[in-house]
Symmetry: C2
Subunit: 450 residues, 2 copies
């Protein structure tokens, strides 16, 4: 037996080794590793170690060398409406109520069905994968159609079971929404990459009685609750007129506030409301682009973080952003917090990265599985090349990720160890499919354009 055979005899076979110039683990110590390898087997991270030793310990079926890249946990878009992606730019520079009443709602009434949702979500998944996003938390009609796009494209998702009082193409009343939601939930239960939230749309579209049912079902099914909260001043004034209290107080009184509540926006929050969110362990999804674009305002992120409220980041739908681009949200979250608080230390680059990864995983109750690069977690990973001319030179990979890079610097996206996107190519999506989706729906939607 030769030396080579002896040495290879002790190598442990694994599925994949990724050698990276840098690994931003987003673990509790904010560890930034250099010249390290992430070892993946059966969808999981089984080792993280110096590259020099990795190859004398493991033998991989597949090897990827990232000599100029930082490897980060796959980004998590914590609040979006993926089927609105085909409505990207349909109504820009218009006030919120006009946006909804004259453009978005009429388009939805006329167009939205199961086929539409599947197609639009497929396009959204392609956009997100190509920008380094591996998981998203969605809220829209026909979630089973979004599930089929998620399964096809190989993403991870937490899909909301939507609940409203008013009738839509999808369901006729709150009980119908709930029933359809549970059917959808059952349909994807066997799927390892899909989980559910129960998603009452917002305090202004859901009655007390329905919120009470939501609470019971969330408890029985062990589901997180995903809702919109305090996005605009109008909804607060309307709640005060109708219920005599601000929406968050209503949710508090109904018993909705708790560690399983994931509230999108939180733009308008009083000091004691921030304290209550902290006390009850709620999560807030900061959506800076959408909040600015719809002129809702600027969420008090610095105060939320200071009070230890768990804050994730979301793009909201493509009709109010107009991107599903977590790089844009990370940069904007870090910049905006500094400018508004006039404190250059408010929301550091690493904090912005945490919001888009581990904080979002916590909000979804998935932090044992995803959100950081640690042994035992699923291999949801994104590689970002840091040497392109338009971002050179690089002194600090994490600050570079947030302030200099864009989603165009993403080179590889893995979900549960499977390569789903690399250099313009999707593992499971053909360019012609996306072209056909656009050719099918754009002409129908164009008439609702601003």
């Amino acid at each position: 037996m030769t030396n080579i055979e002896q040495s290879s005899a002790v190598l442990k076979p694994v599925d994949l080794i990724i050698d990276a110039r840098w690994v931003a683990t987003v673990d509790a110590n904010q560890s930034l590793l250099e010249f390290c390898s992430v070892v993946i087997h059966h969808h999981e991270i089984v080792d993280v170690l110096p590259t020099t030793t990795a190859h004398s310990k493991y033998s991989a079926s597949s090897l990827v060398s990232l000599g100029e890249h930082v490897l980060i946990p796959g980004l998590i878009n914590l609040h979006t409406h993926t089927p609105m992606t085909l409505m990207r730019g349909i109504a820009d520079d218009v006030p919120l109520m006009d946006w909804l009443n004259a453009h978005i709602w009429p388009a939805e009434r006329a167009i939205v069905d199961e086929a539409y949702v599947r197609d639009a979500s497929t396009l959204a998944c392609a956009e997100m994968l190509s920008g380094g996003t591996t998981c998203f938390s969605d809220m829209y009609f026909y979630p089973q159609a979004t599930a089929s796009a998620v399964i096809k494209t190989g993403m991870r998702a937490s899909l909301g079971l939507p609940v409203l009082e008013f009738p839509t193409n999808y369901a006729k009343d709150a009980d119908d929404y709930l029933q359809k939601g549970f059917d959808a939930h059952d349909s994807w239960r066997a799927h390892a990459l899909i989980s559910s939230t129960i998603a009452p749309h917002a305090p202004y579209t859901v009655s007390n009685q329905t919120f009470e049912k939501v609470l019971v079902y969330a408890d029985q099914l062990n589901l997180n609750i995903h809702t919109h909260l305090h996005e605009t001043r109008d909804e607060i004034a309307q709640s005060e007129a109708q219920y005599g209290v601000r929406p968050m107080r209503r949710l508090l009184d109904l018993g909705l506030l708790g560690p399983n509540l994931v509230a999108a926006h939180g733009v308008h929050l009083l000091e004691h409301e921030i304290d209550q969110l902290a006390e009850h362990g709620c999560s807030i999804v900061h959506c800076p682009s959408s909040n600015l674009k719809l002129a809702s305002g600027i969420a008090p992120v610095t105060a939320l973080v200071k009070e230890n409220v768990n804050v994730g980041l979301g793009t909201d739908g493509a009709a109010s952003n107009n991107r599903l681009d977590m790089f844009a949200e990370m940069r904007l979250a870090a910049l905006l917090a500094k400018g508004v608080s006039e404190d250059a230390l408010a929301i550091t680059a690493h904090q912005a990265l945490e919001m888009a990864t581990i904080n979002a995983a916590k909000a979804l109750g998935l932090d044992e599985k995803i959100g950081s690069i640690e042994v035992g977690k699923q291999a949801d990973l994104t590689a970002v090349k840091l040497t392109d001319v338009n971002i050179a030179p690089c002194y600090d990979p994490v600050s570079h990720l947030i302030y200099a890079c864009g989603r165009e610097h993403v080179t590889h996206t893995w979900v549960a160890g499977d390569l789903r996107y690399s250099h313009g190519i999707f593992a499971n999506i053909e360019p012609i499919e996306l072209k056909e989706i656009i050719q099918t729906w754009q002409p129908k939607l164009r008439q609702y354009k601003h």
Copy 2:
């Protein structure tokens, strides 16, 4: 003689025809043309007409067909410090005074010389050209070294002749700065693509006596004045302590306010100051990323525009942005104005595009030459592809440019009719040169890293 020969005999020979799906002219009527051609000869736009007729009227040496693109005026970065590009990310998430005192100034004292400035400006020009920027207004030491980078890369620039009281590697006192500036100005006078501004750094670094000289020279040489103004609260408090008035009042009293004043930032402006800027026809350079990142605050852009102050956009230096990316500034300017004013109509997509083109041209006194796509102007043009998966579908090319696109969607950049960048390739810059620039300077600068 055949029919073909007859027909070709009457075709007028020109240098270049660009056929475009859309042309956003940024003319006074905000004209958006479809299926039109821009005809270029001897560096100038000589015709803009429907593509169907263009080819029966002109015969071009060079033809570019942009079937999925919008052609826009080349973007103008109205306030930057290009030689700081090699300091990108050297000190993030630190307060302004620490940023300057502990990182930027020590690095400048140790490193900055003519060779450094030439190299860093070359890298900056590459970044800007690849992102659709054709012209920039600069302010830094050794402007003749920046001029050599501008000439080499084929950009257009307005270079500041810097003036300060304190000594640097470049000059020893205000008179020395002025003298060196005039020598630099003389050195590039024959160059059609380079113009000059006189650039007193800021009211807190320039004495009254020097400002008076600046005013005389600006008048004699017919130069615009480029300065920093009201960027931070500190500089205002300091001026009140030292001079008994706010900095802008000092400039007013010295006679500096006028249509040739281009003031960067204008973050902290009182209502009567905005009125005075309007009355005197001054221009403000809004630098939203830098103002947020350095925690300076948010400029009152909506009020400035409402009072008809001419507002352009700038990236500031790459050490406080950390990009030279006019797409990022256009998007942020439009979003931020809406969010701060809680008015979804504040700064529309077209207004943001105007700020990055024609408004900037006006500020530089170059609006007869550049800033819009009109017959008689120089052919500074940028093509942006609107059909990539991550921005599809497109309903409105201008709103798409601002809210959905990034600089990565730029496919071609022409300066005065010459193609300077296309699909990752620069006409006059080899990739190896940029690599060598980074390898030369990054190790020297690394020790000043935060």
